[in-house]
Every structure is written in structure tokens, then in C-alpha cells.
Assembly symmetry: C2
Homo-oligomer: 584 residues x 2
């Protein structure tokens, strides 16, 4: 089964292609993969690693239930294989075997599709539905390339302490490779890096983790691919929130040294006689091409991104990819003068460029005199076009039309919602006429308690702040305004008390507790699924907790009809939090 | 392990409580279960069977991820147990054991919670997400009650040819009981009845199948509980689409006779040494109370419902339960004079009563002269209130407001959508003012191709016809008009060519192929997930198929923001068909 590696070598050159692919675009993704293979070959890489399901995109959801989808995956993969002369490439795909589907990786070697690796643990929680589509895999061989033993696994499999990568190390793998599509959430890149460091340390193996990057509906894949040494130290790091291509030489001989000094994986064999330990598969690569070239200089990996910068970049990437991958170039949004629409506009400008963002001010009778000024100041700071569309005449015409039916009834939330709906309708009219995509501007706190008008301010294709609570909105604005390109959001929009301006002197604080109280209750109730009793025990007023919980529960019908928006917490509204509408 | 049953007996009296419960309403459902227990005891039943998860409702979705939810299930079940003096009751619940949740049934016996049955096969396809919540169960004992061996299983477990009920029969069960929450789809009650007949025949056991009934968001549970004899003949049938309570005596001695004459289950033991065959559990019921009473006369089961009548009843039940379980009494809907809104109104009247349904006619410049007349005729036939709300002044005011921004641009779909959105806004204003729930009236063909205005005619809380294609709309109308209470839908609404009436002389046929062509293509593409090539091979024009498929794919963003509606096919839009918005 090939030569035992010697202390000094061999050098083993790996390449990681951290791609931004598109779901279902098998031809386009295949072309990007082909380019990565060519680039890896130019760099004399011995092994190229791509993200999970790079060929068909992730998550492909019910596209996987079309029989033709697996066939198209196979056919495209067969056309890629010949490009791998002289190297090994691991390419993720949806793979049919008999009447079963696997989340799989093709092992392409020297021009041939020689084997297929399966994902064993199928995530079926949070945003994931893989048990809906795939069979739990049983095939995760260790293969040998030019004397180096490599174990490849897919995403979730490395999140288990005793999963396939551990089994592969027990079977002798010196290099563990993981193809991943791990979506971003605040704090997750650091959590993931800690976990991967521990996996490398536990197995005494080099670990190459190639993650997907890009926005896909509610998900943002953050990249942040990693290469770690057998001590768990990061020796290369992919870009955060952008495509990247990494090539580096791994001194595989260090694995044996590490296992002599930290013998845990050797000793673990004593107590883990696992029948799933698969024999090594020898790949027919007589020589490593990298050996013919000069070693690459080791680089110092860039530090991880700062949390707020990374959150900002996630929102930017999610917005850019949603807009562009859906065939739009330009977006519009209502600018109320408030902080949420200002932040949304600033993110849109960073995502698409100022010339692709149009703001619309839609004053009515209850708009404060400063609102138009704030919107105009914002447009000036961002350099975006500002349209003005007064809605009061339409509002009055609507009131007049409804008057015979509303006779004898006092004004109430009906009239407030009407203004919001006229604004939504106006944005949609501009969208229809000019083919601009509408961004909606509500934040997570509002979505949570239903402080939003369905078919009104909830109109839009993409809800940029859907998973960003109000306090975090302020954090993001302060962070962005502190950047070197100067303030982007007018100070007055930050300082003014939040208001929907749908009746005289209305303020959010009339209907809602201060956000300093509301947001922690929401985090406990929505993100931690704590009971009312548990939240009260944290020190909140019981009546307040009851009221907030009831508002959250009762506004599920609105959220069910809400636009998608980028998930950035561990529990986002949308596919991740599946609550019944009808419930006690 | 108790006495071997004799040829003549014992008689064994079973009761089925086909309940309509509410998700999350553990207190309310518990009260209904308690009433069923009392009723079963009054009838001297030996065994009472309730539907799957009767205590907490089904599907409880992410309510199951609240730690308190399992605790509340347990506490409520503990309060029910003492009510079971003198009988056995099988009550479905969400059950925590350690850190795992099970879809389970409590075995309550003579006042005590004596055992818990697990569901083994967790459905995680279609509308089901059970792998998200539950651990696959391993506990499905055969228990003995007064000499009768009973095997209880939960829903999906009986859909497998070699599932737990088969294992229980191999272990000697003479009576198989299945607690179910099986949602309706067209043709499913008959498919289910065939399957259950085969299960009874294969096992030579009596089979008691107790199904849930009622609407829950997108699902309608149809009831249709069944009791079958060891030959697979139906000997009792629960109501379709309504609560029911059945009590009957089973001549258990027939099981041995059947197994002598059709020895398949006895012979199967030879070749099926399965370690999961669990030993019998003896329940401490020294005597059957039914033995002290006179035998019940056997009844002839009512025939199954006719398919169109059942579909109608499903739409009625779904609508009634969505409205009432969400705390509304009255609904409103726009009446265009067309067939979809007419059908929706007729269903709403059957669901809620004429006095709870308000129609709103909202004529504008392109409404045909007959539209108002058709709406008025409909209101007359149904006996519902009709409001008239002309929208042309609001439309004109909106056009005027937009004119400066639209200068030099020709009228297009923008202006069509505006009318639809003004109507939606008007319905929402009435909803807000009077607390009436808005029903939306689009059919499945329109949802499929996106022939609907988001935030316009798609406004509403519940989309009654969301899963009913246009051809089926006509079938339903013809069926309803043929009932004994006379025509409900005006003939002119049926005869006029479908039109959105949003521009002069507009007809559906201008933009769409005839529904006789469109609907079969949609069925192939949406419900069968056939490829374009396969659909063309059925004989359709390739360009037409391409265009329809593209329309379906591109309108996913609208459907993602659509109201829920009752699933009545095997592949409904909503939770059942999870397509990415962003895709190639």
C-alpha cells in the first residue's frame, strides 16, 4: 500500500478553491471548478480540495428530488475528470447510487473518476434538511497519493468527535480533508476554528478544511477555509466572505513526529476496533508533481476578521449575491430618515455600488419635518439617487374611498397600516416599471414582535436586517461610521427616537419597551427557546415577558409571508425556526 | 403470560376517538382526551385509541424544541392517567427520555401510566420533518389485556411492509392498533384503506387505525379511521373530515381461525428471527369490563366518501379550522365575478355560514360590465353580504402621484399590478378595521406560473385554492352546483373566459396556454418533478414546456411570500415543495 512516509517528507502540495457557486448552475459551477483544476495544476498541486456540493451548489433543496438532477451531476463530473491529469481533485456533488442519493465527493485522479466519498452524518436541524434527501453514507476510504495517506470527509462529519475523520486517522490518515458548506452565524467562524484545531490535535494529522463562500437565499457561506498542522495551529486561512485560492506545501513527515510526541491517535487504536475502518485505497499516482518544483515559502496566515467587520461583510455578501444571482443589478428602498433604512442603504451601497442603489422618500402627513432632511443627508453621504414620492394624496383618496364603509368608526391601526401599504405599493410600482429589486428594511426585533405592516413595510424581495436585532443595528451603524471612509449614516438618524411616523408624535416606545429590555427578552424567547418562567427568572417583569411572548407567537402569520433575509444568528426567522401559525 | 385466547372469545371492546385537537393546546386537548376516556368507560370499552400526538397536536413543529414543551406533555399525561380506571387508553404525546424526544404513545392502564410506545420510522419527506425532532424509537412491546395480545404502533410504522406492526404480529399480537396523524391528499384515503387491508390480511390480526381530523395550517387531517378484520375487510369506518367516536366489539377468537386458514404470519416466524421481537408485557387487568355487558350489535360501515365530495369537505374543514383556531369568526374576500373567487366564497359559506362571509366587489376602469352583476348574483345565491368599494379614484390618484417618476414610460404590467395591490390594500383595511380574516382566491395553476400579484391578489391569511388547479376548480364548481341545495355559483361566472381584468379586454388566454394544456404540464413539472425532455415526450410543444417551466422556476419568490393554504395533492406548494429562490 505504498511507501511509509519518512521523517523528512514527502512535501505534499494542497490547493483549496474557496468558490462562490450558484445552486443548480451545474454548467457554470463546472466551469469554475475546471478553472480551479487548471490553476491547481499550474501550481503543481498534488491535491485540490473544493467545497461541499461545489458542482450543484448548496443547499439545492428540492431540486434534488428531480431525477434529472443527479444525472446532470454525474454527466458534468464525468466531463471534469479528464482535466485532472497529474493531480487528485476532490469535488463535491449530489451522487446517485442505485435508488439512493448521497452527499458525496468525487475523487478525480490523474484524469479518472476513481472513487466517491460519502457524507455519513446528515444534518437535519436548524436550516438543514439533509435527511429529506440523502442516505447516510458508509464510504469514507483512506487513499494514498504518492505515499501520503489522505482521508476525505464532508462537512458535518468533522463536527463529530468520533466521526469519519477520526476513523480515518485511526486507519492511518496523515492528512484529513473536509469539504464543507458551513453557513455563517455570528461567532461561528471562531467556534469552528477552535473545533478544527482540536480535531487536528486529537488526530495528529494535517487538516485541510475548504468551505463554500457566497449568499444563497437565507444563507451566507463565509469561506474562512483553514489549513491546520497536527498541533492544531492555523497555517493558512482563506478569505472571509470572498472567494479565495490557496496553495501550500505540507511537511507530511511532521505527522509521524507529532504522533511520537503526542501518541493519542496511536494509542486510541487499542480501544477502538471499529469495523468501519476501511482499508486504504491506493491511487495510481506514481510521483508527486510538486516534487519537481521548488518548495513554496510558508506564509503567515492573516488574522481572523473582527466580529463586527465580519457581520457587516456577511450582510454585504448576502445582499450582493441575492440581487445578482437573481438577475438584478439595481435596488431601491424606502428611506424614512430612520436608522434601519439608513443602515440597509449603506449595506446595499457597499454590496452593489452607489449607482445601483435608489432611495425613495415617501412623506405623508405624519412624517416629521426632519425625516426628508435625514433621508436627503443619507443620500448625500452615500452618493445615491433619491426619489421623492409624496403619498398623502393617495392616502387621502384611499380614506375617501373607504369612508362610506368606515362610517362611525374611529381611526385606528387601519389608517396607520394604510400609509405603510401605500408606500409598499409605491416601491413595487417603481420596481415593476424599472426592474429594480426592492430591499425591505425591518430589523429582527420588529419581525419578532410583529411591529411591521404585512404588505406594507414588509414588501420587498430581500430583508437585509431580518436577523439583526435593533441594538445590533446601532452597533453596526457605529462601526461603519467609524471606518476610514467617513460617516455614512447621518448622526441625526442615529440620535432620533425610533418611530414609524404613522400617527401624530408616534414613537416605538409608545408600543414597545425600550430595545435595551426588548432585545434580551427576544433573544431568550426566540433564540434560546426559553420559557416565560425562565425569562422572568432572569429578572424581567412577568407581565412584560408575557406580552412580548404573546406578540412573538401571534405574529407568526406575518413572518410566514416575509421576504427572505440573511441568517446571521444561531436562530433566524425563516427556514431555521419553523413554528406553526395555528397554535395555542 | 395470560390465557391463550379460545376460539369463541374473548370479545374485546375497542373505542376510537377521532379527535380534532389544536397544536400546542395541551390543556384543551387534554380535556378532550379526558372526555373521550369517560365516554369509553361509559361504553365499557376495554381499550381506547386516540390519534398520534393527540395531547400536543400534530405537527407541533419547533414548539418541540422548547424544553418546557416535553415537560408540559408529561405533566398533562400524568393528570390523565387516573381517569383510566377499568380500561386501557393509548394516548399520543411528545415524550422526553433522557435528552431525547420520542413521538410516543402513553399506555394508560387502570389508572396508571404503565408503558410508553415509540414511533420507529420517522417520516422526513413531503410535509414531514420528524427527523428534526425525534429519535427513532425502539420500543414497541406487545401487551396483553385480559388475555388479548395487542401491538400498538404510531402512524408511519404501519406504512412499512416489515415494520413494527408486522414484528408485533410475529410476536403474537392478535390486535394491531395504530395511532395516526395522516394528512389528506386526493386519493390518499383509498390508498390508505387498501394498504391497511393488506396489513390486516398479511398479519391475520384485527387492525384499529385511529386518525386525527382537522385543519392545521397547510394540512387537513381527514379522519377516516378504520377497523379491519383479519381478512382485511373494513368493519368500521370513522367519519371523513369530522370528529367521530366509534365503539365496537372485536371477536378476537377469529384471529386464530384466520391464522389456521391463512397461516402466513405463523409460517413467517420460521424465516424472521428478529432480535427486535419484544416480549409481551402483561398489563394488570384481571377482567375485561365489557364481558359484564351485552355484546354490541355489529354495524355496517358507511361507504367511503366520494372523491369530489371529500375534496370539497377537506377545503371546508381546512378553511373552518384555520379561521376559528386562529381566533377569527368572520372572513372577507374580493369578488371579481370570476370563478375562483366564487368557489372560494362558496367554500367559506359551507365552512362558516353565510353570515360570517363578506364579499367585496372592487370595480375599476377595466372591470367588465358584467363583473359586478356576477358578484352580486353570487352573493345572492350564497346569501352573503356584498360590499362595494370602487377603487378607480385611488388608482387614478396613484397614477398621478407616480406620473412625475414614470414620465415617458409606457403603461405596462406596473399599472396592472397597481390595481391588484389597491384591491389587496382595501381588503386589508377592512380586515384591520373589522377584524375579519382575508381569504385569498388564487388557484394552484396561477401560483405555479406566478400569474398573481404579490401584495395584490395574493394578500390574505389563507389561500383556499392554493393546491387546486384550474381544471379542478371547474370540477368542484360543477359538483357543488349539482347538490340538492341548488346552484351556488352563477352560471355566467363559469362560462365567462377567465380574465384578471387589469387592462382592456384582457384574458388569461392572452398570457397563458389553455388550462387544458397548462394544467397537465404543471402536474408533470410540479407534482411529478419531470424534466422538460420527459414532458415534451408526453406530446407537448417544447417551446411551451420551456416557457412554463421557466415561469414556475422564476415565480418561487412569490410563492415564498404566499399565504398558507390547504394541501390536497401529493405535492403542494409550501412546506411540501422546498425550492430555492436563487437558482439557475
Amino acid at each position: 500500500m505504498g511507501a511509509t512516509p519518512q521523517e523528512a517528507g514527502p512535501r505534499f502540495r494542497v490547493a483549496l478553491a474557496q468558490l462562490n457557486v450558484k445552486v443548480g448552475d451545474i454548467a457554470g459551477n463546472g466551469a469554475a471548478i475546471l478553472a480551479a483544476i487548471e490553476r491547481a495544476r499550474s501550481a503543481a498541486a498534488d491535491l485540490l480540495v473544493l467545497p461541499e456540493m461545489a458542482l450543484c451548489g448548496y443547499p439545492a433543496e428540492d431540486l434534488l428530488l428531480r431525477p434529472e438532477f443527479a444525472r446532470r451531476n454525474r454527466e458534468a463530473m464525468e466531463t471534469l475528470a479528464p482535466a485532472t491529469a497529474g493531480l487528485v481533485a476532490l469535488v463535491g456533488l449530489a451522487h446517485r447510487e442505485g435508488d439512493e442519493l448521497f452527499n458525496a465527493a468525487a475523487v478525480l485522479c490523474d484524469g479518472h473518476w476513481v472513487d466517491t466519498v460519502h457524507k455519513a452524518y446528515l444534518p437535519n436541524y436548524g436550516v438543514f434538511d439533509e435527511a429529506r434527501y440523502f442516505r447516510e453514507g458508509r464510504r469514507f476510504p483512506v487513499f494514498e497519493v504518492g505515499g501520503v495517506r489522505v482521508g476525505a470527509s464532508i462537512c458535518e462529519d468533522i463536527w463529530y468527535a468520533a466521526g469519519p475523520p477520526q476513523l480515518q486517522a485511526l486507519a492511518g490518515a496523515e492528512l484529513l480533508v473536509n469539504l464543507s458548506a458551513s453557513p455563517y452565524a455570528i461567532g461561528k467562524p471562531a467556534y469552528r476554528e477552535r473545533m478544527l484545531g482540536t480535531r487536528a490535535g486529537d488526530t495528529g494529522a494535517f487538516l485541510v478544511y475548504c468551505n463554500l463562500v457566497g449568499g444563497q437565499d437565507e444563507l451566507v457561506f463565509d469561506g474562512n477555509s483553514l489549513v491546520l498542522d497536527p498541533d492544531g495551529r492555523v497555517i493558512a486561512r482563506g478569505a472571509s466572505m470572498a472567494e479565495d485560492f490557496i496553495v501550500l506545501d505540507l511537511p507530511i513527515g511532521e505527522v509521524f513526529r507529532d504522533r511520537l510526541l503526542d501518541p493519542r491517535i496511536r494509542r486510541a487504536r487499542l480501544l477502538t476496533p471499529d469495523p468501519r475502518l476501511t482499508p486504504s485505497l491506493h491511487l495510481d499516482m506514481t510521483a508527486l508533481r510538486s516534487a519537481e518544483t521548488a518548495p513554496l515559502a510558508a506564509a503567515v496566515p492573516a488574522p481572523p476578521a473582527e466580529p463586527l467587520a465580519e457581520l457587516w461583510a456577511a450582510l454585504v455578501l448576502g445582499t450582493r449575491d441575492y440581487v445578482r444571482k437573481n438577475g438584478f443589478r439595481k435596488v431601491l428602498l424606502g428611506l424614512s430618515g430612520g436608522i434601519d433604512s439608513a443602515l440597509t442603504a449603506a449595506i446595499a451601497v457597499d454590496a452593489l455600488g452607489a449607482e445601483q442603489v435608489v432611495g425613495v422618500a415617501m412623506p405623508a402627513r405624519y412624517s416629521s419635518p426632519s425625516s426628508l432632511g435625514d433621508a436627503s443627508d443619507l443620500a448625500g453621504l452615500l452618493g445615491i439617487q433619491l426619489l421623492e414620492l409624496p403619498i398623502d394624496d393617495v392616502f387621502q383618496a384611499t380614506l375617501d374611498a373607504l369612508a362610506p364603509l368606515f362610517e362611525g368608526r374611529a381611526a385606528d391601526v387601519t389608517e396607520e397600516n394604510l400609509q405603510s401599504r401605500i408606500r409598499g405599493m409605491s416601491l413595487m410600482a417603481l420596481s415593476n416599471k424599472f426592474q429594480w429589486l426592492v430591499l425591505t428594511t425591518g430589523n429582527k426585533s420588529e419581525y419578532a414582535v410583529g411591529y411591521a405592516t404585512i404588505y406594507g413595510d414588509m414588501c420587498g424581495a430581500y430583508a437585509v436586517l431580518k436577523d439583526v436585532g435593533k441594538l445590533r443595528v446601532y452597533d453596526l451603524v457605529r462601526w461603519r461610521n467609524s471606518r476610514s471612509d467617513g460617516p455614512r449614516i447621518p448622526q441625526h438618524s442615529i440620535d432620533r427616537p425610533p418611530s414609524a411616523e404613522l400617527r401624530p408624535d408616534q414613537k416605538d416606545a409608545d408600543s414597545l419597551p425600550p430595545y435595551e429590555v426588548l432585545d434580551p427578552i427576544l433573544e431568550a424567547y426566540v433564540e434560546r427557546e426559553m420559557s416565560r418562567e425562565e425569562i422572568v427568572a432572569l429578572g424581567f417583569d412577568p407581565a412584560m415577558v408575557d406580552r412580548i411572548a404573546r406578540l412573538v407567537d401571534r405574529s407568526e402569520f406575518k413572518r410566514r409571508q416575509a421576504a427572505p433575509g440573511p441568517k446571521v444568528t444561531d436562530r433566524a426567522f425563516g427556514r431555521e425556526r419553523r413554528m406553526p401559525i395555528t397554535k395555542a
